[in-house]
Every structure is written in C-alpha cells, then in structure tokens.
C-alpha cells in the first residue's frame, strides 16, 4: 500500500469506487464544514476538498481535510499550482501526510482572473504534471524536488484530473498518459455529459494500456435545473453538454427537473459501471452535498465496501 488510505484499499480490492466533493466555506466556520460532511459519511470512499476553487479564497483545503477526518470522512486533499511555489507545496504535502491525510489531487487550478482577486500574481512555478511527479518522488524515493533526502516521506495516494472533452480531443489521452507516467495512481475526470465521447476516450485509454496502470474515476455532476444545464453547456470552458440532454430536462415539468437530473446521473452511473476501464465515479454534487445519499442509493452504490485496513508498515528506512 502506498498510502494506507481507504480509497486506495477500495480500488486495489477491485471495488467500484465513489468519491464525493466538498467545497470549504468562505470563512473559518467549522460548523459549515461539518454540515456538508455529515450527509457524505458512509456514502463515499473519499471526499475531494477543493483548493480555493474558481480562484476564490476559502478555508484552506488541508485544514478542511483535517476537519473531515475528525468527522470520519477520508479527504482527498486538492492542491493547485496557482497559489504556491515548490517550497510551499512540499511543505504542505509533508504536513498533510503527517496529520493523516492519505490522498491528494494535483491540479493546475482555475486561473486567478476568474476569482475574487483577479489581478493577484499567479504562481505556476510548476505545473500539475510536474506536481504529480514531485509527490511521487517524495513518496517513493524519499527525496525533495531538489534531490535532497526527506526525513520521513509522505504517504499519499496521488490523484490527477483529466478532461476528456477539452480540445484538442485527440491529444487528451496522451496528456492522461503523461500524468500516468509522472506517477498518478488515480484519475478523476471532468463532469461527463457526452457519454459517447467519453466512451471513445476510455477506448483509447484502454488501447494504450493506461487503464491497467491507473484507476479512472468518471466525473458525474447531476444537473439540478435547466439554468444549470444551460450554464454548464455555454459558460464552463472545456465542458460538453449535448443538446439532447438539455432538451430532456426541458421536457419535464419544472418541479421534476431536479429529479430528472438525478435520474440522468443514475443512468450514467449504470452505463459507466459496465464500461471497461472505469474504476469508479467522482460525484461532484455542487452545493448539493445533502443529495448525495439519495443519489448513491438510487444508483445502487450502497453500501460502500468496508475494506480491512492494511497491516501497519514499517517507517521508511527500516527493512
């Protein structure tokens, strides 16, 4: 075991994994975190804790991750390249591991111009693929990026993102291959609405042998309403929402649209479970965390597997 975490154990045991997402509050409001965490407990194998998502300042992802651990939820600590240089990143990686965080997700991060401090200085000292490789080197070789030795390497299951729908489509699987080569253990994809195109992406990943090397969790975000569907279709760069899906939501009574969105998500999940090379789903119920129990229940994903904790490992350096 690389991390000793639950998500790794679930995936290695071959279960179809479920991860969720929790956005930290814009303040030090611990109760807000607990309130979002409560419905996720027992419903997901790990929960992503976003890192200043959309470049808006929030409670730090490592601090929110620690609150989630207190609440009995395994966090997937997100880290973006926008806000930290390699010194701060490595320091936070060590601190996160020391305090019991077992998963992290390496991301470039939304550009600062989208956020609440649009003219701040973006760091981007290293990019997401270089970050993946840095964590892997820290964990597996017990070395900093500088090559110097680490006293107690971090134990982290390394995640990365993939957007099968960004252009150029044909290069996306090659970028996935770069993330795998850099050291990613698992991948969480952008929200999928165009299942046919995602199928083509996974076929390519299967053909290149990538799905043998990395666990791919397919991104699912249920559409809550018609405005949300239209927003996703037109205003989120790199998102692909087919017209037919929008028509389907439009076609039902306004009061039943949220339910239709969940129904669509459940159908997608069924289809993904049958898809070779898909190891689980990443359920991003954006500001809809309380609906997660209902969604995973209706999708037949309960109960979540209980995998025996791995035997304790000797500290690095001891045989």
């Amino acid at each position: 075991m690389k991390s000793g975490g639950n998500l790794e154990a679930v995936l290695v045991a071959g279960h179809f994994a479920v991860t969720g997402e929790l956005g930290p509050p814009r303040g030090s409001n611990v109760d807000a975190v607990r309130k979002k965490a409560a419905p996720l407990k027992g419903m997901v194998d790990a929960v992503n804790i976003t890192d200043n998502q959309t470049a808006v300042v929030r409670m730090s992802s490592w601090a929110t991750s620690l609150i989630c651990i207190q609440e009995g939820l395994e966090p997937n600590y997100q880290m973006v390249c926008r806000d930290r240089n390699r010194l701060a990143m490595q320091a936070d990686i060590l601190g996160a591991s020391a305090l019991g965080i077992r998963n992290m997700l390496a991301l470039s991060g939304d550009h600062q111009s989208f956020g609440d401090h649009p003219k701040c200085k973006g760091v981007f000292d290293i990019d997401s693929i270089q970050l993946i490789n840095m964590v892997k080197t820290m964990r597996d070789e017990s070395k900093f990026l500088s090559g110097e030795a680490i006293d107690g390497p971090p134990r982290l299951f390394i995640g990365a993102a993939a957007n099968p729908f960004g252009e150029p489509f044909e290069f996306r699987v090659h970028r996935l291959a770069k993330k795998v080569a850099a050291g990613a253990d698992f991948i969480q994809t952008q929200c999928i609405y165009n299942m046919e195109k995602f199928g083509r992406f996974i076929d390519m990943a299967n053909d290149m042998g990538l799905t043998q090397k990395v666990h791919i969790l397919a991104g699912i975000t249920p559409l809550k309403s018609l405005p949300m569907a239209k927003y996703m279709a037109t205003s989120v760069p790199g998102m692909d929402v087919p017209e037919a899906l929008i028509k389907r939501i439009e076609g039902v009574d306004k009061k039943k649209r949220a339910d239709e969105g969940i129904k669509i998500a459940c159908e997608q999940i069924q289809e993904l479970r049958e898809m070779k090379g898909v190891a689980g789903i990443h359920l991003m119920a954006i500001e809809w965390e309380h609906k997660v129990p209902e969604i995973v229940e209706r999708a037949g994903l309960l109960p979540r597997p209980k995998v025996a904790p791995p035997p304790p490992q000797p500290p690095a350096g001891e045989a």
Binding site: S108, H111, D127, Q130, H174, A182
Partner: protein, 225 residues
C-alpha cells in the same frame, strides 16, 4: 522589441509635482519603434502637457530632446550638456533607459513617462503583442516556436489544461488562442508530436535575480583581476 505605452497625463503631472523646468527625453530605440517614446511622441506629449498646464495658469517649461538610445552612454553627449539646466528629466524610454539616465544623473529626479509592457512583435501599425517573458531558458525548439511561458495563461510546460474551449481558445479569454492547442496543431503539422508526449520536468527559473550577460568573446575584457 520592447513595447511600452504612455502613462496617463494625470499620472505624469503627478510625478512632475512642482518641477517647473523639465527635460523631456525621447528614445530612438524600441519605444520609438513601438510609437510610444520617439521624437513624434515626445512632441505630442509636450503639446498635451503644455495645453493642460496652460489651462491651470501655466508655469511649466519643457525642453524636447530625443537621443538615439537611452541604454548606452555613447548617445548621451547632447543630453548630458543640457541636463544641468533642468529640475527633472521625463524619459520616454523603457524601464532600462529610465534607470540608465537616473544612474547617470543621480542628483536629478528622472521620471518615467511610459509603462514598459513586454517583449513582443508587431501585429499592425501601432498594435503589438507579447511573445517573450525573457525567462532565460528558451523552450521554443520543442514547442513548435510558440512560447508556453508567455502565451499560456498558466505558463504550463505540459499543457493544455482542461479549460481549452471547443474553438481552441483559452479559458481566460475566448478571443485568445490556447497556446497548447496551437503548439499541438503546429507540431502535428510538422510530424513532431513526440516532442510533447513526454513529461517535461520542473524547470529551474533563471529570472529570479538580476541577470547580466557577457558574451563569450568579451569575457576576458571584463574579467576581474
């Protein structure tokens, strides 16, 4: 070429403060070529300053002089002779030129009339675009002649990020091409995609402290005894 644009008249007047006699020093180098700080722009700037000051009771004497370049002492004979008669120099050179003048005349306020913007090329007359961040470790040979440091909003070395729009533009601005979309397109056209399918490791940033360059044949000349 170094590209610059003029500061607002209000900001320039603020910098001049109570100075009554000012030498407006133009530069015939880059800022002249990008139509921001050459002879013609100095003349226009002085006319605007004159008009504004006249509306407020006058009292500002401006002298115009444009020299070939403000970043080399060879061209300073005329300026040096004049400077002593003025309370301040208002320079329309780039940031380097302003500092060169300031170092030459440390007793005098030397003020910038321009904001130095970037290193770029001409898109049309009076229209310039940034293309080089002078990072000190050029990767253009492996990126199809398209700079990811400058042209990718996140300066990614292993792009493109997930935000490339369907039309191949940047998530930050839908009118700006995604650098990595363009890099992919160009390298594909050249049959050289293998250049970007391997992981490019973290780089050493060469522009974090002030740099100086001595060309190889001149190293002996400037060697410290």
């Amino acid at each position: 070429m170094i590209v610059a644009s003029r500061k607002s008249l209000d900001e320039i007047l603020g910098l001049l403060g109570s100075c009554k006699k000012v030498l407006v020093l133009g530069c015939g180098g880059c800022t002249s070529i990008c139509l921001a700080g050459g002879q013609r722009e100095v003349r226009d700037l002085c006319a605007e300053l004159d008009a504004r000051v006249r509306d407020h009771g006058g009292g500002l004497t401006l002298h115009e002089l444009t020299i070939e370049r403000q970043c080399n002492e060879t061209f300073f004979a005329d300026a040096d002779a004049l400077v002593k008669d003025y309370e301040a120099v208002l320079s329309t050179a780039c940031g380097a030129g302003v500092q060169f003048v300031a170092e030459r005349h440390p007793a005098l306020p030397v003020l910038p009339a321009l904001n130095t913007a970037f290193v770029g090329f001409d898109k049309g007359v009076g229209w310039y675009e940034e293309n080089c961040r002078t990072c000190g470790d050029c990767v253009l040979g492996e990126t199809g002649g398209i700079c990811p440091v400058t042209r990718c909003a996140k300066s990614l070395f292993n792009g493109p990020c997930g935000g490339t729009r369907s039309e191949g533009t940047c998530e930050v601005d839908k009118t700006v091409p995604c650098a990595w979309f363009e890099i992919h397109k160009r390298l594909k056209g050249q049959g050289r995609l293998a250049l970007i399918t391997k992981v490019r490791p973290a780089r050493e940033w060469e522009n974090q402290t002030r740099r100086s360059v001595i060309q190889e044949p001149y190293k002996a000349r400037y060697a410290k005894p």
